[in-house]
Structure formats: structure tokens, C-alpha cells
């Protein structure tokens, strides 16, 4: 298990060194901007994975957490130092996680997932209703304290922090308990696990990183509006997680990068964009049920098998 984790860390290090050095060759602001967006979605998708992938409680409302982080930036951005804004974004998301989680996480299976669907819709309504504060459908304009390239590096740093922290937790006894609850929550209770507390923990943990990411998201878009809470946004995260490979932390991050880059590359053929995007999704789910991460592992096993004697696992 340690070997596997060590390999993942080496892979992460190589990928991040590459991404850090990338602007030396590619200074096109559009490319940097797309990569920043991919990194931010990767933060959202991997933070979604800790509850949805490990405990198996699909969260259809993860947008609540980065959405409130983004709105906190809209409200507080002009008044506070950016680091305090970042902190406020994370804390607001954590507050919402408790607010939503305490009543909901006692529910099991599909009921919890259905409930998570409702909260972003409520917040979307609220954003429209209290237009004096939120700017209604126009939202709030945000000015970024960082340059494009500065924001790129800030997003990379937060992504790296998110991935390493969540991986460390996922590989710990806590992560194993998350998996046990995901396997069978009744058996987990019978084994003495306070399943509600662990679910709330996973919910809050994911919310914290999403909230931090939400601040950078608002800086990146230079704007925050109610569309953040739309069903499309929340479902995008779910799709990124599934395509990347749930229950792996890295998988959803890869899924997020893949789908963000795919979406951007199809921008020029706007008419067929949704069609191609949907086709790719269906193919991914049909051909690689364990996601891109699972596909990677399978390929590695396939390449090794004829050479090494051990075979996969």
C-alpha cells in the first residue's frame, strides 16, 4: 500500500513540476486561463470525492460549497486582505456543511443524495431574491488581487495542498473507516462506528477545500453569480468524478482536467459541443467503468503482466 501511495506522490510531483514550468514555454494568457480553470475544477472534484467516492453518498450539491466561497469573496473581497478572504471562504463553506449536514446526514442512501440536490437550488433562489446584496442575476464583480499568472500558481498550490491532504486522510485509518461505511453502513454501525459523525466529517472536509477553491474561482472569473449554484455546475462535478474514477482522490482531479480541456477545445464548434461532450461521457462510462484512473491502472497491469511474474495486485 505504501508503494502505491509513493508512486502516486512521485506522479504528482512530476505533474506539478511540469505545470509550474509550463508558463516558461507557453505564455498565451488563454491557455494559462484554461489551465487555471482546470485546476480549480480539479479542487472541486477531488474534494467532492471524499464523501461521494469513499463513503458512497453521491453529493449532487457540491456547488453549494464553492458557491458560498465565491460569494464570500464577492462580499468581503473589497474589504479584507486576500488571505483573510481565502480563510473566510473556507469557513463559510464549513459553516454551510454543518448547516446542511447535521439534518441531512442521518438520512441514508438515495434520500441524502436527493436532499443535497435541493440546497444549491435554494441558494440560487436566495441569490435572485436578495438582489440588493447579491446583485441578482448579474451577480457581483470581483477584482482579483493577483495577475493571471499569479492566480495560476495560487490555484496549482491549492490543488497540490488539496490532493496531498485528502490522499493522506484517505490512506489513514479515517479513510479506511470511510471505505468501510461505503461498503456497508449497517455493518459499520454493528462494528461500533459512529457513521453519522464520519459522514459529517467527510462532508465538512470536502466543503473546506471546495470553499477555498471557490475564492480563487471568483478571482479567476472576476465575477460571482447565481449560475454557480445551477444544477449544471453541481452535475459537472459529479460527472468529472465518475469519469475520472471515484474513491481515488486523484481520479476526479484528472477527470476535471480532462473534461475542462475537452469542453474548451470544443468551443470553436459550438453547435456540436454538447453532442460531442455527451458522447465522450457515455463512452467513458461504458468503456472505463472505473474511470480514467482505473483505466490507467489497468493499462499499467496490462503492460507489466507479460514481463513481471506477479500480475496485477
Amino acid at each position: 500500500m505504501m508503494h502505491r501511495l509513493a508512486r502516486v506522490h512521485i506522479g504528482l510531483a512530476v505533474a506539478f513540476i511540469g505545470l509550474v514550468l509550463l508558463p516558461l514555454w507557453i505564455s498565451n494568457p488563454y491557455v494559462i486561463s484554461v489551465l487555471t480553470l482546470a485546476a480549480l475544477y480539479a479542487i472541486f472534484a477531488s474534494s467532492w470525492d471524499i464523501l461521494s467516492g469513499y463513503i458512497g453518498q453521491l453529493n449532487f450539491g457540491h456547488a453549494v460549497f464553492f458557491g458560498v466561497g465565491a460569494y464570500a469573496t464577492g462580499f468581503l473581497g473589497p474589504h479584507l486582505h486576500p488571505l483573510f478572504v481565502l480563510l473566510a471562504g473556507g469557513l463559510t463553506a464549513v459553516g454551510f456543511a454543518f448547516l446542511v449536514g447535521v439534518p441531512c446526514l442521518k438520512l441514508r442512501g438515495p434520500y441524502l443524495s436527493l436532499t443535497t440536490l435541493v440546497f444549491p437550488l435554494i441558494l440560487e433562489r436566495l441569490a435572485f431574491t436578495f438582489r440588493d446584496v447579491t446583485g441578482g442575476e448579474y451577480g457581483i464583480t470581483v477584482s482579483s488581487p493577483l495577475s493571471r499568472i499569479g492566480l495560476y500558481y495560487a490555484s496549482l498550490a491549492l490543488l497540490l495542498a488539496t490532493l496531498t491532504t485528502l490522499l493522506a486522510i484517505a490512506e489513514s485509518r479515517i479513510g479506511r473507516t470511510f471505505r468501510a461505511i461505503g461498503d456497508d453502513d449497517q455493518a459499520a454501525m454493528a462494528a461500533g462506528i459512529n457513521t453519522t459523525r464520519f459522514k459529517l466529517g467527510a462532508f465538512v472536509l470536502g466543503a473546506a477545500f471546495a470553499g477555498l477553491g471557490g475564492v480563487l474561482y471568483a478571482y479567476h472569473l472576476r465575477h460571482v453569480g447565481p449560475e454557480t449554484f445551477s444544477l449544471f455546475t453541481s452535475f459537472s462535478i459529479v460527472i468529472m468524478g465518475i469519469v475520472g474514477g471515484m474513491g481515488t482522490i486523484i481520479g476526479p482531479a484528472i477527470g476535471a482536467c480532462f473534461l475542462t480541456l475537452l469542453g474548451e477545445s470544443l468551443r470553436e464548434i459550438e453547435t456540436f459541443r454538447i453532442l460531442i461532450y455527451s458522447a465522450v461521457l457515455i463512452l467513458c462510462v461504458m468503456l472505463f467503468p472505473k474511470g480514467l484512473w482505473g483505466l490507467g491502472n489497468a493499462l499499467r497491469g496490462f503492460i507489466r503482466k507479460p514481463v513481471a511474474s506477479g500480475g496485477p495486485q
Binding site: 485509518r173 479506511r176 473507516t177 471505505r179 468501510a180 461505503g182 461498503d183 456497508d184 449497517q186 455493518a187 459499520a188 454501525m189 454493528a190 462494528a191 461500533g192 462506528i193 459512529n194 457513521t195
Partner: protein
């Protein structure tokens, strides 16, 4: 096996079920069922399918809330407490159909039960000693050699033994076993009987739902018979087998031939 706080004197029942009633949409699964389990006793609950045996286990272990009635463990009320709280108080259960943590190894399955009841997450007042009994428990059910295997590689019979091991790893004073023999092969049955005998001799209180009377009647000291949610007999195996209502309930059914 260490028990929960022994504030009660010897002779007080360790588990007391008092007029427990449970309805499911008009169907009465349990109707005013009462009985007591003495410390160290091996009690077998029998009754035809649908008699309410598993519902009784669900109520006692906190998985179902009774409509009426009380359950006490060592004199303390545990009625409708959360399942994980009841386990930490010293009452563990198994499931009729095994429910392993399939993404974890055999050892991790058992370790999970031990740490969550004896580790940092457990209730400070629990009397559990943080003894590392994972190895002892896995050796007892003869799964120690397979500890590093994924639990999804075990046979159905081995999974039943893993259920027992996981319940024991919580360091309980009372264990409820729900049809532990169902689905076992002949050698696994012998193995399980040896395990049950071993646990019984160690002083653990065991409550077992079982159809296969012949296997257990030799060991049982106390038999409770449920029929359509009602307790129709309660006593020693000899008393129960002479009971007119029991004979009537079993007569003509498939069970009559099985136990003839």
C-alpha cells in the same frame, strides 16, 4: 472476554427484554416478547421463518426501534440507542447474510471493529480494555492465515466466520449470532461449533438464532421459541421439546421432519 461494569450483583440478568412489541405496517413482528438472559448463558432462539427472530435481534442491537417495551443490558436501559453505542456498551451482533467490508482485507475488517470500540473514537466510560485481540479472534475462527486477503475472496462460509470474528473484536459481553450455521459446509459447521463452545466456556454470553437444533441443543442451556411474533415457550431444551404449543407450532411443517 471482559464484561461491562459489574455494578450488578451475580445472578442479575445481563440482558433483559421486557414486553417488546414491533409492528411493520399492520403486521405484528413482535408482540410483548419478554425474557431474560443470564450472564454466561448460551441461549438459542428458535421459531419458524417469519417468527420475528431477526426483528428481535434488530430491536436489541438498536437497528430497529421498538413500538413498545424495554431492553436492558447489565441493568442499564439500551432501548433504541444507536447501534454503535450499544456495541460500545458491550453487546455485539452478526448478520444472517454476511455484510463484510468488501474493499478491506480480512484483518482490516476485524481491526475496524476493534479500533472503533477500543480506540480513540470510543466512549471513555466503556470498560473495554484496549487489548489487541485481532490475532486471537482471527485464529479462533481459523482465518488468521488468510488475514491479508481481500474479504471479497472468502467463501460464503468463511464470511459467516468473519462476521463472528468482527463481532468478537468489539470485546463484547453479549454476542447475538443470527443463524450462524446457515450456508456453512460440514467442516465449517464443526469449526463453528468448536468456536461457540470455546466462547461459551470462556464465560461469554451468547444468544443464537438457529434452525439446526441438533447442532446446538447439546450446548444450549436455555431455549426461547417464537411463533408469529409471540414467545410460546421459554425454558431448558428438555422443557421446550415437551411443550405442547411448540409441538403444535412445528407439527405438520417442514421443521417437524427436520427435528423428528
Amino acid at each position: 472476554m471482559s464484561g461491562p461494569p459489574t455494578s450488578n450483583g451475580a445472578g442479575a440478568p445481563i440482558l433483559s427484554i421486557d414486553r417488546v412489541t414491533k409492528h411493520f405496517r399492520g403486521l405484528t413482528a413482535l408482540s410483548r416478547v419478554s425474557f431474560e438472559v443470564e450472564r454466561g448463558e448460551l441461549l438459542v432462539v428458535i421459531g419458524p421463518n417469519g417468527a420475528g427472530k431477526t426483528t428481535l435481534f434488530n430491536v436489541v442491537s438498536g437497528f430497529a426501534r421498538p413500538d413498545q417495551g424495554k431492553v436492558e443490558l447489565a441493568g442499564e436501559p439500551i432501548t433504541a440507542l444507536a447501534p454503535h453505542v450499544i456495541v460500545r456498551r458491550g453487546l455485539a451482533r452478526t448478520f444472517q447474510i454476511p455484510r463484510p467490508f468488501k474493499s478491506l482485507t480480512v484483518e482490516a475488517n476485524v481491526e475496524m471493529a476493534r479500533t472503533s470500540t477500543a480506540g480513540a473514537f470510543s466512549h471513555p466510560s466503556a470498560a473495554h480494555k484496549p487489548v489487541d485481540n485481532v490475532e486471537r479472534v482471527l485464529r479462533l475462527v481459523q482465518l488468521w492465515e488468510r488475514r491479508d486477503q481481500g474479504s471479497d475472496t472468502l467463501s460464503q462460509g468463511e464470511l459467516k466466520l468473519l462476521e463472528v470474528a468482527r463481532a468478537l473484536a468489539t470485546n463484547p459481553a453479549v454476542v447475538l449470532l443470527d443463524e450462524p450455521y446457515a450456508g456453512l459446509g460440514p467442516s465449517e459447521m464443526t469449526n463453528l461449533t468448536r468456536v461457540i463452545l470455546d466462547l461459551h466456556r470462556s464465560g461469554l454470553t451468547l444468544v443464537i438464532i438457529e434452525h439446526k437444533l441438533r447442532e446446538l441443543m447439546k450446548l444450549a442451556q436455555h431455549v426461547v421459541v417464537l411463533h408469529y411474533g409471540e414467545k410460546i415457550a421459554d425454558g431448558s431444551p428438555a422443557e421446550v421439546s415437551r411443550d405442547a404449543r411448540v409441538l403444535e407450532a412445528y407439527m405438520g411443517g417442514r421443521k417437524a421432519a427436520e427435528h423428528a
